[in-house]
């Protein structure tokens, strides 16, 4: 048995640099894989609703008619499911956490600006149809 076993560590901690960082003056540590919050590229979202179906906490609502993509930041558990299922990869995971809110509403509405490109009419197929008629 011995006394003051902790003394060496304590003195080193006292003299050395602090183990913690002075947040918020020094930004928090993030890694490339960190799950902060979900972001959407509104110009490429095709409103397929896969993210809404796969969300385990029902935080996402996609409205096809109104062309809106709504996320409830307070419901979202940042699990990365929506990012994994998105067929056009318009959802990405940002590494920075979403800021703290002061009101009890985390709803964030995004207006989808994607426009489906019109298919050029196939000249041959139109002619064939006419012939068959």
């Amino acid at each position: 048995m011995a006394f003051f076993e902790m003394a060496k560590t304590a003195i080193r901690s006292f003299v050395g640099k602090p183990a913690t960082r002075r947040y918020p003056f020094v930004p928090g540590k993030v890694t490339p894989l960190s799950r902060g919050h979900v972001t959407i590229d509104v110009s490429s979202c095709i409103s397929c609703g896969m993210c809404m179906k796969k969300c385990p906490s029902e935080a996402i609502c996609v409205n096809k008619e109104e062309k809106t993509w709504i996320i409830d930041r307070l419901r979202c558990i940042v699990c990365n499911s929506c990012v994994e299922v998105c067929p056009v990869h318009c959802l990405t995971m940002d590494t920075v956490y979403s800021p703290a809110v002061t009101t009890h509403s985390g709803l964030e509405v995004f207006y989808i600006t994607y426009v489906k490109p019109e298919r050029p009419p196939k000249a041959d197929s139109v002619d064939e149809n006419k012939e068959q008629a």
Binding site: M6, T9, T31, L33, C79
Partner: protein, 359 residues
């Protein structure tokens, strides 16, 4: 015979981060009996299994506990995989085992810190949590989450760890182990800690066995019970033996956890050396139909996830039995005959996780 009085302990108490209520029957300063009561933070997680599809329930299973979340998710996945007859790739098993062992390191360091805090050793508490930060950083680098990893899924794992990161993890373990050795020396050899823990809350080997103590609580009393020895996931591929102490007092339970830190580091080293290449997941087809009891070793002891499928996307039943619930009868046994001032230390020594226990 002196007069008996009943003194309430909890659910709000400075040493308890979570709510459990104990009615202590006292004779002077000596505890003669204890009546535990639980049910303050029941969340009904098991009912949610009927409302969420089985692949999504992994997220809920993980949120059962805020400390050993990864092992909860893994045990649930193991159960569903066994029901569906899925063969998980070997690499996924290894990755799961590596993350499980990091979870164990994180949980034990958290507990050692809280234990030091319970004894009034603030300096040691800060030191233990400083080391825990290293483990959390590794978790975030490899899975994306510090506490809720979300990297386990039915059929395998979500993320792979590349060879370079694995090598870096192995290199970093050396410095981490050096710091731990210094801290372990304080826990195991300092006189002030020993005088606070030696001979306090003794649980004999027979009592531990009869009351069904699991995990470090049982191993501290000389019962070599460790579910990892059954060889689930990749534990069958590594050489290790359960850490056992014979004394059965608070010091023995503390020593088991301190020594398990080094045992976990050794297991992680072996796993990183032997990890095979290949796929990390298999495609899941169909729905589970059948039932299975999936067992694993949490930092606190044996964890059981029961899953029952009925051929649809929604499971019929899920049941979680966590080690803290099993360790309540041994706790009652330990408290009988102790001094009132020792109650906080003895309650902490079983590593209670009440949120986990009440689900």
């Amino acid at each position: 015979m002196s007069r008996q009085i009943v003194m309430p302990f909890g659910p709000q108490h400075p040493v308890l981060p979570e709510p459990i209520h104990l009615d202590l029957v006292l004779e002077d300063e000596t505890v003669v009996d204890v009546i535990p009561s639980i049910g303050y933070v029941h969340r009904g997680l098991e009912t949610l299994v009927e409302k969420r599809q089985f692949p999504e329930y992994v997220y809920i299973a993980e949120r059962t506990c805020g400390i050993c979340s990864f092992i909860h998710g893994m045990t649930y996945c193991q159960g569903v995989e066994r029901v569906m007859g899925l063969e998980v790739p070997e690499r996924a098993h290894y990755l799961r085992t590596i993350w499980s062992e990091y979870s164990r390191l994180h949980s034990h360091l958290l507990w050692l810190g809280l234990f030091a805090d319970g004894m009034g050793f603030e300096n040691l508490f800060m030191n233990a949590w400083k080391h825990r930060e290293f483990v959390l950083d590794v978790m975030e680098e490899t899975t994306g989450g510090r506490v809720i990893q979300g990297s386990c899924k039915v059929g395998g794992v979500r993320r792979d760890i590349d060879q370079e990161t694995l090598k870096k993890m192995e290199r970093d373990l050396k410095g981490f182990e050096k710091g731990l050795k210094e801290m372990a020396n304080v826990f195991l050899n300092d006189d002030s800690i020993a005088s606070r823990l030696r001979g306090v809350g003794v649980l004999s080997r027979n009592d531990a066995y009869v009351c069904g103590a699991v995990g470090p609580t049982g191993r501290g009393s000389g019962v070599p019970i460790d579910i990892r020895m059954t060889g689930y996931a990749a534990y069958g591929e590594v050489d290790f033996s359960p850490v056992v102490e014979e004394d059965g007092d608070c010091y023995a339970r503390c020593a088991v956890r301190v020594n398990e830190l080094f045992s976990s580091i050794e297991i992680i080293r072996q796993l990183i050396d032997r990890i095979p290449g290949g796929e990390i997941e298999v495609k899941v087809k169909g729905n589970p139909d059948g039932e299975y009891f999936s067992r694993s070793e949490q930092p606190r002891g044996e964890l059981v996830h029961y899953v029952k499928g009925n051929g649809t996307k929604y499971l019929a039943r899920s049941r979680i039995r966590t080690p803290t619930l099993t360790n309540i009868p041994p706790l009652v046994k330990m408290l009988q005959g102790c001094e009132l001032a020792d109650v906080p230390v003895i309650v902490l020594s079983i590593d209670p996780c009440i949120g986990c226990m009440e689900r």
